[in-house]
């Protein structure tokens, strides 16, 4: 479970106390709408025989493509929803922080989970393969004790080509951890200019 109204209210108050504004970002529905409109259109065109392929080999290819496309059109919006939708805070022009609250309803008997957690991540700060920026990023991460990987599957296995700062907090230390990631962005913003020169 990702969100509860009381947790959202709590985060909102803490962010407000720091002088920023909390915004709710929901962009997964756009990808859902576009991808699924195309799916419906394709299926209608096939149903009314507007698309009709006579060549058996091409027909098999088209069917295969359609099945893959239908699968993607459902999974991408779901993945998007879990990876990028959430609460955002615009800290400066071109810099924002994404908040993903997680609340575990079911208690595990084996593991002692932290019940309420808030994953905090920054926007993409640089391309991973830029050597100088990667070094600066690593330095900031080390000095600020920031976790290197975020919870999403793409980032967990190092598949993302971009660098972004990540932090984890509970409601109790939320403000301090939020300040830590914003200070990391501030440091990045200042130091980045010296690299560009």
């Amino acid at each position: 479970m990702r969100n509860t109204p009381s947790l959202k209210e709590y985060i909102n108050r803490e962010i407000d106390n720091l002088g920023f504004k909390l915004q709710e970002k929901r962009r997964s529905w756009i990808s859902f709408l576009i991808l699924n409109s195309i799916s419906v259109l394709l299926l209608l065109l096939i149903e009314f025989k507007v698309i009709y392929i006579n060549i058996p080999l091409l027909n098999t290819f088209f069917r295969g493509f359609l099945i893959i496309y239908l699968f993607i059109s459902i999974t991408i919006p779901i993945l998007w929803r879990f990876s990028y939708d959430g609460l955002t805070v615009e800290v400066k022009k071109n810099y924002h922080v994404l908040l993903n609250p997680h609340y575990r309803i079911r208690k595990s008997k084996i593991k002692d989970y932290q019940l309420i957690g808030i994953y905090i991540s920054s926007n993409r700060v640089a391309f991973k393969f830029n050597k100088h920026k990667n070094k600066l990023f690593t330095d900031i991460v080390r000095t600020r004790w920031l976790p290197r990987k975020r919870k999403s599957i793409i980032s967990k296995y190092g598949l993302s080509p971009f660098l972004r700062f990540n932090e984890f907090s509970t409601p109790l230390n939320f403000q301090k951890q939020f300040l830590n990631i914003v200070l990391a962005l501030q440091e990045w913003d200042k130091e980045k200019k010296s690299i560009s020169r």
Binding site: L18, G19, V91, K92, K93, Q175, K176, L179, L183, Q186
Partner: protein
């Protein structure tokens, strides 16, 4: 009297960059022992801070250590502002706990105005704690001001 970082720097003239540091024989042993003593106290401070069971107790102690060096009179609201906490009620438990532990002294001047002080008479290690906090720690209020300035700058 507790161990002091400033006394240590003064004793070996570590802040005098015109002359080189030369330690011979017993001097070197004393230097090594003094350094170890400082680290021992720092470790004790870690231990005490991590065993404060009140949720914001450690933060209250740090904020107080920072404020006390700057201002002669520190009250509960100053600590609350230093920690950028919205309500004083969130810190009440911490104040009570720290008073019980004899880490701080609270002078109740009026019903609402309470002056608080670090109890460095009973806890001599607070001297070093205060010096470290004053020199290296940034309070949430300072962090907030720093990011606000950065955020407002175009």
């Amino acid at each position: 009297m507790g161990l002091s970082y400033q006394d240590f720097v003064k004793k070996y003239q570590l802040d005098d960059f015109k002359t080189g540091l030369e330690l011979r024989g017993h001097e070197k042993i004393n230097f090594y022992n003094d350094l170890n003593e400082i680290f021992k106290v720092i470790c004790k401070i870690f231990d005490k801070l991590t065993t404060i069971s009140s949720l914001r107790g450690g933060q209250v102690l740090m904020s107080l250590a920072k404020l006390q060096t700057r201002e002669s009179v520190v009250n509960k609201t100053d600590v609350k502002n230093g920690l950028n906490v919205d309500r004083l009620e969130k810190l009440m438990h911490a104040f009570d706990y720290l008073e019980q532990q004899n880490y701080i002294k609270i002078k109740r001047k009026t019903k609402k105005f309470h002056i608080i002080q670090l109890n460095d008479q009973d806890n001599p290690d607070f001297k070093l704690f205060q010096e470290i906090v004053q020199k290296f720690w940034r309070s949430p209020q300072e962090d907030k001001e720093s990011i606000r300035n950065w955020s407002d700058k175009k």
